[in-house]
Each structure stands twice: as C-alpha cells, then as structure tokens.
Symmetry: C2
Subunit: 168 residues, 2 copies
Amino acid sequence: MASATTSFTFARFPILQKQVFMESPNSFAFVNLKPIIPGHVLCAPKRVCSRFEDLTDREISDLMRLSKCVGQAVKQVYEAKSMTLSIQDGPEAGQTVPHVHVHVIPRKLSDFGGRNDEIYERLDEQCESERIARVDAEEGRRARTMDEMAEEAEVIRAAILRLGLFVD
Amino acid sequence: MASATTSFTFARFPILQKQVFMESPNSFAFVNLKPIIPGHVLCAPKRVCSRFEDLTDREISDLMRLSKCVGQAVKQVYEAKSMTLSIQDGPEAGQTVPHVHVHVIPRKLSDFGGRNDEIYERLDEQCESERIARVDAEEGRRARTMDEMAEEAEVIRAAILRLGLFVD
C-alpha cells in the first residue's frame, strides 16, 4: 500500500505527501477530497484506529492540539472567525471511514452563499446544517483533482509557517 | 454568583453541583437544560474561556480525555454504539454560550423515531442533521426541571463509577 509518495493511510486509503500539510508526533492533517466548504480539512491519528475511545491519552492530546493549530491556520487562510470541530465516532454517528478523524471547518457568516436576507439565511442555515451534520457523506459532492488538493495543502502549509504553529 | 450549591460557572451561568456528574483536574461534565436527544451532555473547562485556541495544552488534553470518558458513560446509559463529539467554536459556528464546550451525544440508529423505512429514515436524517448541527440553538426545545436534570446526572454518575472511569 505504501509508496514513495504515500505518507500515511487513512483507514485503507493511502494519503499522499502532497495532501498532508501538518504533522505532529502522533497525528497528521490533510486536505479533503470532497470538502463541504472551502477549508474543510481533516486531522487523524497516525495509527489506524477506528474509535475515539481506543486512542491513548497521548494520542488524544496530540490530535486535539494539532486540530487547534489547524483551525488557526484555516481560519487565517479562509478569513474565517469561527470554526467547527466535529468527530463522528462510529457508524451510527455518520462515520463512514473507520479511522478516527476530526473535521476542522472554518466558519463565517457568508458560508453557503452569504445572503443576508433573513428568509434566505434561514434556508441557507437548513442547507448548511444538513451539510455540516453529514460531513462524512460523500454523495453529491465533487471529488477534487490531486492538483487542486496539493495547491490547497501548499497554501495552508505556508500559513502554518507564517503563524509559527507546531505541536511537540 | 457562586453559592453552596454552585460548582462552576458556564460563561455567566451558574452550574449546580447536582447537574455535574464528572470532574477532572481542569474540566467538568454536566447535564444539559435542553438536550437534543437523551444523553446529550456537555463538557467544559473549569476556567471560563470562550475560544478553543485560548485553552492551554493541558486544558485541551484534559477536556478531551474527560469527553472520551463521558462518551463511554452515556453510550452505556443510553445503550448507544456511537457518539458525536462537536465543538462550535465561535458565533459563526453556532456557539451561543461564550465558554468552550464539547457536545457529547450518544448516537443510535433509532435516534429520532427509529423508523426503518427508507423514506422515513431519510426524513429522519434531515431532521436529525438539522438538530445535530444546531446543538447550541435553544428554540423549540423544552427546558427540563432541575429534578429531571439531577436524576439524569445521578444515573450517569453511577455508570461512571461502574465503569471505573477517571481522568488524572
């Protein structure tokens, strides 16, 4: 499965180096094939482990500290003030890839169209709610090319350097 | 603000001892005034702190380890196999109480009615998605009495003892 360009595996899926934009001792952060909104990225433990309760204390701490840094980076890149952190732990919670992962999603009021009209905003909220809640679902979302993903990873990597973020 | 029965404050809201069912060195777990589904509880750092990026490494580690234990307990109490962990970090992400909190939500296929018919299941999914995504929203949800909350806290507390869960 692993090759010269494979950094990690996400369950059974190889993740290429150019998709990975940050790494900590026990975790890695990578861009998403089908983000629900721009900047929707994932953080996962390096060890393939399907459930949150099977992570060690060290892995939990490392994963969430990495998620914090990644949130800071994607908020800057995507000019967002807020973020959603979400873990769908188990199939009944919507998890489709059996490898623990934190969805890090930069959030702004203009998500999903940015209409300020109240009615449209409510409609947007509905749409958004559905999408946010189904972050693991793939249907209806376009798969990006590897070039698009590599480009995004590069931009986020630069922001991380600029911000001096790291997890030791 | 604090009184003999107040354990902690959640932003400006006092949280009574009988609502709190687990405590770690830096965090506490408490039952919810308006859970979106049974067993939807909250974990927060003891220090009033509005944003995830302002937590220390120690606080992040402690909060997420507590959330893991709480997830194990509510899954047992509510006979669920999965859980959702979610942090709405900032107003644009739907955060309404300016104090970091992890929503811990036990999840099962029967959430929101348990109809197995595909069409109904889809409808349920929509409904569920909306509710899950708007975990901080209060409208349309019934506020429980303190007795109801204290009773739930007692049941979860017993499960924690039974499971021997702790965060040091």
